[in-house]
């Protein structure tokens, strides 16, 4: 039978400890998340209690330094991939995107922040008490990061921030934002990263809750109107903000890959169960050659992506990753997700068009994966540049 689990290739990168983590996490997801997914999606919200539960099972802490309450000992990048896969198995990508949004908001603080910032921010985020989001994209543009325009002007021992950010995941719930601002001249050399607390005077936010997908995820537009932030909230050095932005790109793209690939597997599983049951023209759908070949084609693409992903993960872990390969991996994964969502819906027919079907939701989540975290066009362009073209 074609299932989420049967679609996992045996791989030298995973050991017993990974298997144990997957099976315990599966229980967590089955008990604490699965029964509520549809309700949370319709309510366009996730309960705060989910963060505390995720901290109890160790999800939030995975990969962060132990001195701040994180968990690194004995773990590696494949534990993280498993976390993404098992959360994505819910068939609601908004859950991973929001519950684990600190995965993009926190690394700049962890790797470039002062001890003062680290002590203030990391532990409460990892315990699920506080939330942190990453704010790069602006109404004026997302792909062209080097041209962002939100400004931070030094005024004594403060910065005064003006401008706006949009499409910010976790943006309504966040207590802190890791914000990319312009402190210097044009281009990448004038960008800094700074921590902005949500309760700062002059800061406001509005929800963007009419989205194609990721309904349970809170997305926001942020407004900075003469927001004064202590200069000590600067993450890294002034005008050196591009490094903290790109530093986490490989990990972010790998996580997006794992999520897109897991979503593709959910589609295949759902469509396969249906195709074996549903009879047309006197036999199960799965016995019609056109449909069988759809499955063969989906599995071919999923297998190739899986092998590519595991190899890239190993490269990242061992400091051997080439950004071009990781960028193209993300393109590969979102295209496979798109293909599988399409084919699954064709196989499911009218039933697949109805809410309550995982593939239907995943179909609506294809674009955010293909656009967010570096769009397919931008990823290809970056790869071509890296390849010396």
């Amino acid at each position: 039978m074609l299932t989420f689990d049967s679609l996992r290739l045996a791989s030298p990168y995973y050991n017993d400890n990974h298997a144990e983590w997957r099976s315990q996490l599966r229980k967590f997801v089955e008990r604490e998340i699965m029964p509520h997914v549809d309700d949370w999606e319709e309510a366009c919200d996730l309960p705060q209690a989910l963060w505390h539960k995720a901290a109890e099972v160790g999800l939030l802490q995975l990969g962060y330094p132990e001195q701040y309450g994180g968990l690194t000992e004995g773990t590696d990048i494949f534990h993280t991939i498993i976390a993404v896969e098992e959360l994505s198995r819910t068939g609601a990508g908004g859950i991973y995107a929001t519950l684990m949004v600190h995965g993009i908001g926190l690394p700049p603080v962890v790797h470039f922040g002062s001890d003062y910032l680290k002590n203030m921010v990391i532990a409460p985020v990892l315990s699920g008490e506080k939330h942190i989001s990453l704010a790069i994209t602006e109404p004026g543009g997302g792909s062209d990061v080097a041209n962002l325009s939100t400004s931070a002007v030094r005024d004594g021992d403060h910065y005064i921030i003006n401008g706006s950010k949009t499409f910010i995941t976790g943006g309504i719930r966040a207590d802190w934002y890791t914000v990319a601002v312009r402190t210097g001249g044009e281009g990448v050399g004038g960008i800094s990263m700074i921590l902005v607390p949500a309760d700062a005077a002059g800061f406001s936010r509005t929800p963007l809750n009419k989205k194609q997908g990721w309904w349970c995820s809170d997305t926001a537009t942020l407004y900075f109107d003469n927001v004064r932030v202590p200069a000590s909230y600067l993450i890294g050095a002034e005008n050196q903000g591009f490094m903290p932005i790109v530093h986490n790109f490989n990990n972010e793209r790998l996580a997006l890959t794992a999520g897109a690939l897991a979503s593709a597997k959910v589609c295949i599983e759902e469509a396969a169960a249906w195709a074996k049951e549903r009879k047309t023209f006197g036999k199960p759908l799965s016995k019609h050659q056109v449909i069988r070949h759809k499955f063969a084609e989906m599995v071919r693409q999923v297998n190739a992506t899986q092998a590519y992903m595991d190899s890239c993960a190993w490269q990242i872990q061992n400091g051997k990753a080439k950004p071009a390969d990781i960028a193209l991996l993300k393109v590969q994964a979102t295209m496979v997700m798109e293909f599988c969502a399409r084919e699954a819906l064709q196989i499911l027919g009218g039933a697949g068009y109805m809410r309550g079907c995982k593939s239907e939701r995943i179909y609506r989540e294809v674009r955010v994966n293909a656009i967010g975290g570096g769009s397919e066009e931008i990823m290809r362009d970056l790869a071509a540049r890296q390849l010396g073209l």
Binding site: D16, E20, W21, L25, F28, V57, G58, L62, L71
Partner: protein
Amino acid sequence: MKVLVAVKRVIDYNVKVRVKPDNSDVDLTNVKMAMNPFCEIAVEEAVRLKEKGVATEVVVVSIGPKVAQEQIRTALALGADRGILIETEEKLESLTVAKLLKAVVEKEQPQLVLMGKQTIDSDNNQTGQMLGALTNMAQGTFASEVAVDGDKVNVTREIDGGLRTVALKLPAIVTTDLRLNEPRYASLPNIMKAKRKPLDVTTPADLGVAMTSTLSLVKVTPPAERQAGIKVGSVEELVEKLKNEAKVL
């Protein structure tokens, strides 16, 4: 108080079991294995007793191949303190298992032995009872509630048509039923800690137990496939069919 918990590696309960084409046994190739669900309930109960301060040490024992260490590690991640694997590739029968457990009981001297009422592979439901007979310990089977009270343990048992509570003098054996508790999931930090907990490996020979078999498996057959249903046009037709075809009315 020391608690001994017996756990068995069996086919994961989510897996659809397939019979080998020659009907000689169930096909185990490439099948996902896991801890027997009733054993998981036993581990959970032991860990809860420890959290309540009633138990001081939880020892987990499993009998099976080397890979059964995985199930012991799971129990350690769930909160047990140390593990013992009695390693054997032989087929397991209830009586041999009970004899092996008796040897462990003699060595470890637990006050309470917790085990599943049955394993979902062979569904024998007799190992706990056999261990009771061999060790002369009191037994409370099919437990839906376990309350240790001084040198006694009160066990609420699920019996046909109701509940029955028995008070057993410790040391005692308790076998678990489904409603005793809902087992927890292990956290990632506890999975990592479990790697460092002691796990001793021994063999039936070390314990002086011969793996003699008193049973031979004759045949395994899958349950009959369910027949496809039919649609009836009216209530009258349904009644007619129930009367004349199904002959249940």
